[in-house]
Symmetry: C2
Subunit: 407 residues, 2 copies
């Protein structure tokens, strides 16, 4: 950004819902997304849920001429699903995997297997300036009324905020795009925005065009689950572009657009989510601006306290589950010991005197071993969960202390 | 570091080897470490392998008056074992867990269960300056000749280097202390130092006092395994303090010390590792210095290429293991299908005609299910391993491109 003090940056963000064998009309939609991206020529394209590396390779082949730089972030069993296409050289990437991401035994929700993460790229623009887009997906919300994953999502929001705070200074402009799986007024979003000073492109945009309230999951998109959106007739906004300027730059959102249920000129949408497109105006200032948080500190104290309370609720639930799993493992072990003693008794000739009641153990050892292994696995998993929730609660306590002590 | 342009910073680093039930004379040693730390009054204490939270709490209670700020990093099943004690306020912490860390089925090596990580603290000193110590432990080396974990340790070294590059700018001075489980000339250390510009306190120190060559695992320490050190009669150096200055500071290592087998004035050592103690002299400069790498670029290209080759070797091994596990899962599934068909045949009255050879399947379904589950688990694990190794190889390729293209 050396030389010309002004830069217009056009960013495209979309949760592509491209799960092999599961997502409807996947290949057709990925093709449409590629065509549109080539036509529109954005500066930076942030995509989520591109689970198939083949889809990424197809997009890369199609977009090579207008987006010469790209990166696919690998993680978890299935992958992170994150990829970036850029007009500017990508200097460096870093993947940060959240420490908590659902439960491996909740197969129907599948979040655990994705290795949800935040990807960081550092792109060079012009002379010496650079911007650092981060893009991500947080744990999905499956039931708003009884949201068992809220503590995990809050841990992710907190880790994301901390990651952004610690890595921001390496760039002039910080961008965050992705499916945060949180409504704008949710505590996780307020925490993320308050703790990092990131600004919401939808709220700040001079011009807006698209779905009402900037919604990105809407009933009129033919791929969305209508029952999930019943309480929200207009839809919900869970995909965001956030930004902030570091050092001697200012950023302003000139325009924000979303798609509106179908791809322009087509009969199907790009995805079950709407795409978010922002045009940012970046300007170099004369002098370096100090780091400021956009949320006043007393309000931030309230937000962190609220988040900490929720994490505490999750912590106590995890402790109960760890205890139950541990108890089951101990019971299975005791059963095995009883069986082993009975077998030993029989071997050493005590069997004739019948010191133990006649119980039928046929086949039981295998079941007991199975239960023991399963319960031990669960116990270990919930031990990790407890540790991560405790760690986050402790970090939030530290943040509150620093906030309250600051003049 | 505002106001006084000079600062002397005394740092203590030790791998405490404090594993409950396993480490010899643990409580006595932790007590000795606490006494010494209170007596010596360092500015910053970085401890690893404090696996028991009770030990951390005991240390915290003992050290509260001279080190009012402390933090314990939680991760994995057992924990990260990392904690920090500081004379200066800790503003913020962040834990980065490596994506690869050994194998869950290598129970005797146990690294997988520790959730090995790098902890980052940001400490405020004086007016506005701050320093950011990072402390960590990398995957242990169990056999130098046939080191199956080398690719994992290289992934960790690379992720650590990337993490340091991306988070460095948030502080004035970056410190790294810990048990890197690598000899000074190993490719992982050269990669870490070359890619981050960190300097080795041992190599740079004006004065040195301690074990020959700065070794931190020595044969005369009564807790070390003598057989492991047979090829190295003087011992090996695997614990380090590294540093670099960001922005307008310079750092110089005035003195480096190690313990020499026993705790001063005692008959036992603090740990099976020797402690490393550095005295750094930090000075504010008039103007901001540019970011420089200490290793010349052509040499850095060689180092990254060498590391990438090793990661490639690990990748091919992981692909082979993934393939074997997948094949075993398919075989187990086929066996189950054959059994199910046989059972179905018997049920539908076909049994009388004996369409299948008479095979004894008694108890077999359970075994087949067991093998299927185990092989599937292994397949998933090695799939993750392949993805992370591929991701690291890709990042290194990108780094090489940037290095080769830079003027």
């Amino acid at each position: 950004m050396e030389g010309d003090p002004n830069l217009q940056l056009r960013i495209f963000d979309l949760n592509c819902w491209a799960i092999r064998y599961l997502s409807k009309r996947r290949q057709e939609r990925v093709g449409l997304i590629g065509d549109m991206l080539r036509r529109e020529g954005f500066d930076l394209v942030l995509l989520q849920e591109v689970w198939s590396e083949q889809d990424y390779s197809d997009l890369k082949a199609k977009l090579g001429s207008c987006y010469p730089f790209s990166h696919y972030f690998r993680s978890g069993v299935i992958g992170s699903g994150l990829c970036v296409f850029s007009r500017f050289p990508i200097l460096d990437t870093l993947l940060y995997q959240y420490s908590l991401n659902g439960y491996p035994y909740m197969l129907q929700h599948g979040d655990w297997f994705c290795g949800k993460s935040v990807g960081l790229g550092r792109c060079q623009h012009g002379g010496h300036g650079c911007f650092a887009p981060r893009f991500l997906q947080l744990h999905a919300e499956y039931c708003r009324e009884k949201d068992a994953y809220l503590p995990h999502r809050l841990v992710q929001a907190w880790e994301l905020a901390q990651f952004i705070r610690h890595t921001s200074k390496a760039a002039d402009v910080v961008l965050l795009g992705g499916d945060l799986n949180m409504h704008p007024e949710d505590v996780g979003i307020r925490l993320l925005r308050g703790w990092t000073g990131l600004r919401d492109a939808f709220a700040e945009a001079s011009r807006f065009e698209g779905c009402e309230n900037g919604c990105t999951l809407i009933p009129r998109n033919c791929f969305t689950l209508k029952t999930e959106l019943l309480p929200f007739p207009l839809g919900i906004r869970i995909d965001y572009i956030l930004y902030k300027a570091i050092s001697s730059f200012t950023v302003r959102c000139e325009e924000l657009k979303t798609t509106t249920g179908t791809a322009p000129g087509m009969d199907i949408p790009f995805s079950d989510h709407e795409a978010v497109m922002a045009t940012l105006h970046i300007q170099r200032q004369g002098r370096a601006a100090g780091a400021t948080l956009s949320t006043p500190e007393p309000m931030l104290v309230d937000i962190v306290t609220e988040a900490r309370t929720e994490v505490g609720v999750g912590l106590r639930a995890a402790q109960r589950q760890r205890y139950s799993a541990g108890r089951m493992a101990v019971l299975a072990l005791l059963l095995l010991l009883v069986q082993a003693t009975a077998a030993l008794g029989a071997l050493t000739g005590l069997a004739a005197e019948q010191p133990f009641p006649k119980l039928s153990f046929s086949g039981a050892p295998r079941e007991a071993i199975g239960v023991l292994l399963l319960a031990t696995g669960l116990h270990l998993f919930h031990t990790m969960e407890v540790k991560m929730l405790q760690g986050t609660e402790e970090q939030m306590r530290m943040a509150l202390r620093v906030l309250q002590e600051s003049p």
